[in-house]
Amino acid sequence: MSSAAIPQAPLAGADAPLLEVRAVAKRFGAREVLKNISVNIAAGEFLTLLGESGSGKTTLLRLIAGFEEPTTGEIWMSSERLDTLPPHQRRVNTVFQNYALFPHLSVRDNVAYGLRVQGAPKKEIPSRVNEALAMVKMTEFAGARPSLLSGGQQQRVALARALVNRPQLLLLDEPLSALDANLRKQMQGELKALQREIGITFLFVTHDQEEAMALSDRIALVRDGALEQVASPREIYARPATAYTAQFIGQTNLLRGEIQRSIATCGVLRWPVEEPDGPVLFSLRPETIRLCADGKRQTHEVKFRGVVRQQIYGGSSELLEVDSGDGQLLRVRLPACGPLAGELDFVFSIADAIRVLD
């Protein structure tokens, strides 16, 4: 080990991150599940680990909870080494994917479990349990067995059970994935409101990009065990760093082309750029392309003529597939406008063509 790798205690301070994941890697045998992950979480933040199944996001959560040990790297919380502590000594609580409620205990005893095993004062327990149950609106089910509750109700109990311990950090492992679509939307809203209200830091894992966009302060996109991009939902959507991010979050057009003498050429589309020569890839969101009714373009715009190949009605909007003449189909999202056909002029702003890495 080189002298540069001597662990340094981070400075304690108001703006120090709550959780620091430092160069963490995890291997199961020959399989490398996480590769050199570094990410910080600020106190009070709602950070989402977003990724496809098998991308390693749940493994990272389990490393922070303490159910797995990192192969290399360190995890620090509140300026204390976390990854060397056993799970029961970490001030981190988890809402499990299938809730993992204790079937032999009532809802009340499930919620009281954490307080009891940690030896909280006996007088305090009932009031804190009631408080937690009220927070998730499950007071009337206090005496029920978990097996008699619906999925959404079990989810609330799991939340109350984790929050009653007043953790510094709450880990949520796809907590909404077992719910049906309507309930999921409702629980998303409640979860976000709850997080704002109690101010606990949430680390949320999901494979659902819409859910991540709706809930998070920041999204960490995980791909094949590495972080693809970490940014706010608005930024990650508007300025994706890579083609993968642009395609995973929302829909996009990927334009492949070449820059020569400050002119980018992608098929029939050409526009000036201030970048060095070479091959290039742009992401152009479907909603940034507009109809150009009068056939005129501004100086910062690119105009092209295209044939509508397909039109999909989506209520408030329409999704077109437009052939720009070089065989490339561009997706265009327009406000609902009625049926379109034939050759039409379209424009987009040069600033909306975002250069992305392959």
Binding site: A65, G66, H88, N93, F96, A100, L148, N165
Partner: protein
């Protein structure tokens, strides 16, 4: 649903089934019947019913001593084999260690070993270690011979439990020890009861191993066996009838416990969309 099955079954099948059941249960019925027969085993058909044999049985102290001995041995064997079996099952379920496959086979071996082999080898061990043959050696013999039964039942129970519950317990701040007592064991309750009842029953009527390890105090099966050599008495029928009744009661209790837990699972299934 129609009460008549669509295909007509051959009456031969019904006769065959009746014969099989007669073969299994007729001896039992005869045994129970003769325990109430005034004229004893020889008197057929039984004309005069009586409780005399039971009165005689209840006054028969050696029998009751042997019942007590059997209960002691069975109780001790249940405690011993459940404790050791639970540890072995936990090791098989959770730990990975070199020689695990061999360990598993060695633990399960007594299930298929003939009782005579087990009994003889345990006898040699007892003699070598200088212990006196007594109820304690029988208890140790039953307890160790039945570890395999406990291990299989408890291992199956552990395989069915949801490990996420133990992780949730640790996550909520419980130590591994607290987690074991508050989550793992309650989840295994059914397997523990089932294994306990099975081991209790097996120990209660064990003869082969007992035969090698018994000291001066008889267990019930050996007492009955000893008396049978002097001829069948209706008193033996009476005690056998009582054993039968207790066994049935145990099975009913076990079945009820099992149905209650399955009932909860079924309700859970119905709740799911």
């Amino acid at each position: 649903m129609s009460r008549h099955s669509p295909t007509r079954r051959s009456p031969l099948l019904a006769i065959y089934a009746a014969l099989v059941f007669a073969f299994i249960y007729l001896p039992l019925a005869v045994l129970i019947l003769y325990s109430f027969n005034r004229d004893g085993v020889g008197g057929f058909p039984p004309l005069h019913l009586t409780l005399d044999w039971y009165r005689q049985l209840f006054a028969d102290e050696p029998i009751w001593d042997s019942v007590l001995n059997s209960l002691l041995v069975a109780g001790g064997a249940v405690a011993l084999s459940l404790t050791l079996g639970l540890l072995a099952a936990l090791a098989l379920d959770r730990a990975s260690f070199p020689g695990k496959a061999l360990f598993r086979r060695l633990v399960l071996l007594p299930l298929i070993l003939p009782g005579i082999i087990t009994g003889l080898s345990l006898l040699m061990l007892v003699v070598l270690s200088g212990l006196h043959l007594s109820l304690l050696t029988v208890l140790l013999g039953h307890g160790t011979a039945l570890i395999s039964v406990a291990t299989t039942e408890l291992f199956a129970g552990l395989q069915k439990t949801d490990r996420a519950q133990e992780e949730a317990s640790l996550d909520l701040g419980a130590t591994p020890w607290q987690t074991f007592w508050r989550i793992t064991l309650p989840n295994l309750k059914l397997s523990l009861v089932a294994a306990g009842l099975l081991i209790f029953t097996l120990s209660m009527d064990e003869i082969a191993v007992t035969f090698f390890l018994i000291g001066r105090d008889n267990t019930l099966p050996l007492e009955i066996w000893g008396r049978l050599r002097r001829g069948i008495t209706p008193e033996i029928n009476a005690v056998s009838t009582l054993i039968f009744a207790v066994s049935v009661a145990l099975i009913v209790i076990w079945y009820r416990i099992r149905m209650r837990s399955i009932g909860a699972e079924a309700k859970q299934l119905l709740q799911r969309p």
